[in-house]
Amino acid sequence: MGVALTKSAQWTAAGYGTGTLEITPLNEAILKEIIMFVESFIYKHPKEAKYVFVEPLEWKTSLDLSAFESGYVVSETTAKSEEVDKNGQPLLFLSVPQIKIRSFGQLSHFLFMAKDAKLKEAQACIEANRDPVAKILGSEYNTMKEDSTALNILDKITKDDDPEIEIKIKIAMLLKQLDLHLLNHSLKHISLEIRLNPVSVKKDIELLKRFSGKGEQTVLESIEYTSDYEFSNGCRAPPWRQIRGEMCYVMVKPHDVETLCVTCSAKGVFLNGGKTDDEGDIDYERKGEIYKDLVTFLKEKSAKFSENMSKHVIDFKEEQKEMDQLGEAAKEEAGTFQKAISGSDKRSLEKNQINFGKNQMAKRLAPSLNWKATVNYKDKSSGKDSQEEKRGGKLESRRKSSAPPGRAQLLRKSVERIEEISDSSSESEENEETPEHRQEANADLPSEYWQIQKLVKYLKGGNQTATVIALCSMRDFNLAQETCQLAIRDVGGLEVLINLLDTDEVKCKIGSLKILKEISHNPQIRRSIVDLGGLPIMVNILDSPHKSLKCLAAETIANVAKFRRARQVVRKHGGITRLVALLDCAQSSAEPMQSSLYEARDVEVARCGALALWSCSKSYANKEAIRKAGGIPLLARLLKTSHENMLIPVVGTLQECASEENYRAAIKAERIIENLVKNLSSENEQLQEHCAMAIYQCAEDEETRDLVRLHGGLKPLASLLNNTDNKERLAAVTGAIWKCSISKENVTKFREYKAIETLVGLLTDQPEEVLVNVVGALGECCQEYENRVIIRKCGGIQPLVNLLVGINQALLVNVTKAVGACAMEPESMTIIDRLDGVRLLWSLLKNPHPDVKASAAWALCPCIQNAKDAGEMVRSFVGGLELVVNLLKSDNKEVLASVCAAITNIAKDQENLAVITDHGVVPLLSKLANTNNDKLRRHLAEAISRCCMWGRNRVAFGEHKAVAPLVRYLKSNDTNVHRATAQALYQLSEDADNCITMHENGAVKLLLAMVGSPDQELQEAAAGCISNIRRLALATEKARYT
């Protein structure tokens, strides 16, 4: 009972204590159930009825003393039961108006006596005793903590066999049963309850809006939402209010009263506290009664409104007529031909029944369009119907009296059904946006809708001739417009159009594809086409002997295959191979063509094929399929043509595919780069963009970069930099420049073309996609001295340092690299230092992404090398050194290598070396020693050799077992590793124990080989190390013999 009372019963105000139960059907039902339970208690469980409550249930009763008859001792102001407990206390004690009852038996009696006032008494009792269970059985039986209670009870049972406890448990169980029963009961009730939903509310408001405005005739002066933003579920209330079932707030200004601020919630419509003056917030607290809908509410509040409403009833009637027309059409669809039944009420009722059944059917089937169409219509009609009813309810009661009483119920139920269904359809990720649009279409159906519906009817019921006429006529609508696109879908046109594709009638196929091609620009239509299985049919049409048909099918596929599932379907049905085959037509483009319905130029066929492939190539598996179908040579051949229309899809496909290694190799092999470069100089911006994009993708490969240069592609790229209006193209061009400038020769060329200056100019006021590429390119250019000077002279350092505060990860990686490269120049370094760039770099070590961390650490190395007073600078970063040392705990090899390099530079300063030693750099470095990564080995060895310079670090490295792994580094193939390791070993060999370890691990032999190296530093370090080992050996021998 406790759960049901706290959760289901509707208390007026939130919070405990003050609340009273609202008079709602639900509460009434709950109370009735409780009364029944208590009344029958005395018969069903006579033993338990005698049980005395732990605490009496106490409340103010309105029952008169006179009501008490036999079995009670009645005095002037009190009444008590003859029945008493063990201690002689009466089980019922009334001292007007306070009553205390202590057993179920008395409770039952009392309710008998209360007769008609039962409900009131029960309510008062529940209100006064918010937790009856606790009072009856004691607090440990409070059902709210049921798990633990069960255990406690069990405990008690095992401890003693007190009969009272047994009764208690019995009662507890009974109460729990009641609780469950109440919950189930209230659930049933809730499901029956009328709840408003956003759609109906929206329609209400929409309709009222149409009849609002200045003047005497309108129903309202104005009606406005308080918020313009509509959530996808149709609500406008903020999410934390939506939880309470509130959907939107409306400011209504009737003619005769002040502006009302109204809350529309699922429970109904009520007046809220209004807008607070200063911030425009709404006081959400309820200030008035709940009405079942907006119109009833307004009728109550404004006399003028209800007066004018009655005048407008005629208008509404007209609307209903329109609706009925629609209804008829729907009936036809359903296949039920019925003579029009006189009396619009009856008709609409029937209509709803028909659709009701249909709906349920549709629910079981997959989401078919037919179903969508009917839901669509129904949503509208039933919504309006109920509105109409609400609005006209009182005024037209006579007219309506013939309508069966269950009608309203039925209507509302069907509205609910619709809600359910549209919910279930929106579960799939792809339909998410559809319900919203459907509503929009509902709001006001344009005349096109009816005309299209008629045409679809002819499509369905006509022979070839009629079909062609209907198709041609349909093409006269503005098919680019969403209303028309959705209208075709909503009246079931898509199925017919797709069906036509499956016939033998070439003309019908052509006509149908011409329409599908246009409307498939709409994402919702695309999905519907796929859902209806349109793609496999279109793929089959690609085999048709008629070229115009092939073209249209390919173009439609190009439009439809804009999302993943569609692309997959195309591939699975062999579409890729067929599309690639279309590309093959283009050889004999010169052949004379008679203008015929069925023919098209071969070039056109190839173009459409390329267009479809372009769409399809966005999926990885399709890229593979295109390659396997031999698409690359064909694309390469098409690339030699000079038609822009052809080139854009071809280059687009190539650019899309160039993300795959296989393609890049093939592109190189097919000599495609040459043509890409050629088309960079085209007039068409889109073509330029795709070419640049393709080069960007391919230029990861060194040979390709050289090819771009050899074919003269760098100059057009550089000159395209000057046009910055088209950001997409600019991003593609800068991307191509970035990748190309990885080759030094290319950088030299770019310098010649003054591209570096232009790039510096692009460091400000550009979108991030452009910036990433620009900075990347500059980072590559900076590897050369001359370019670093140019960048400094153009004032490029400041904007670069400014970009260090960004958050785009790719951008940060590139910026740190560029800044690091600039820092190699002492003169630039002073500027960076002045701009506080080192601090910014240092703070990027905290960036969550390892790439950024590593890149920042690399950039710090030249900064520390070239800064004046580097030691002091580094120390000035509070906590900086600790941060660096702790990064040695990272598990990313690149981060580790970069941090080792940074430590090498930091350790050049004795004081800093002391600090990092204190932070435990030695054990951390030693721990890393067991690695196979040559890059890490090299920088680790360098760091170790630097860190040996302080205190007893040499010994410490030995103690932490760093020496033996280091010796193994000498077996690596990388001379850089050799040099660094030899230097580290030389430093370590100053300690005798380390010498022994080295000797034991066979270092001498390896080092001896290094002495012969051409690398002087390596020679020197190796020799130094050997001499240290040797000297120790000599010393031991000497000691032994003397």
Binding site: L455, G461, G462, T465, V468, R475, D476, S595, L597, Y598
Partner: protein, 212 residues
């Protein structure tokens, strides 16, 4: 028919025919006489395919079904209006039928659709031609309503000068914009499939083409 005569006939007809080469004409003439039957020629006067025979060909070979349209096609072939298609009319007709340019086809189709030959396709003519194009729905009060509506739709689409009937200029303009409307009121040209089958069957030997 002897070789010499055939040769001569072929030559004359080829000269006047734009779309067929000698060999194609040759095959078509042979086909014609096969269809007509040798005997008819000897007996003299009207050599050719009468209305029924021709309609039979249209139906069997080119898959046409609409009686009225087939009648009109026959009239289109039978230029001299003598009630039968002779060999010249056969060759010329087929030339347009199979290889005609859009312009020729438009002219031909318009003539087919202009039932009374007054140079206009009137609403009544349209109605006449479209009356069987919609599935009859018994529920409708006026079973012709759909057809009437279809006529209106067509008129809206094609009647450029808004005079309530289609002139050739109207028709031509509409067809140039949307080739699908060429056979707007019924199929009066062979559909591409049966056309290909016919050609494949008649011009059997592909080598002959190359000798041209």
């Amino acid at each position: 028919m002897n070789r010499k005569k055939l040769q001569k006939l072929t030559d004359t007809l080829t000269k006047n025919c734009k779309h067929f080469n000698t060999f194609e004409v040759n095959y078509l003439i042979k086909l014609f006489y096969n269809l007509v039957g040798e005997g008819v020629e000897r007996q003299g006067t009207a050599i050719g395919l009468d209305r029924n025979a021709f309609r039979n060909i249209l139906h069997m070979t080119f898959g046409m079904t609409d009686d009225m349209i087939m009648d009109r096609v026959f009239r289109g072939f039978d230029k001299d209006n003598d009630g039968c298609v002779n060999v010249t009319e056969w060759i010329n007709g087929l030339s347009l039928f199979l290889r005609g340019s859009l312009e020729e086809k438009m002219k031909y189709c318009f003539e087919v659709f202009d039932l009374n030959g007054d140079g206009f396709i009137s609403k009544e003519e349209m109605f006449h031609m479209l009356k069987n194009s919609l599935l009859k729905q018994p529920s409708e009060e006026d079973p012709d309503e759909g057809i009437k509506d279809l006529v209106e739709i067509t008129l809206k689409k094609m009647d450029r000068d808004h005079d309530g009937k289609l002139s050739f200029a109207d028709y031509e303009q509409a067809v140039r914009e949307e080739t699908l409307l060429l056979e707007a009121f019924g199929p009066c040209l062979p559909d591409p499939k049966s056309q290909m089958e016919f050609e494949a069957q008649v011009f059997k030997d592909p080598n002959d083409f190359n000798d041209m």
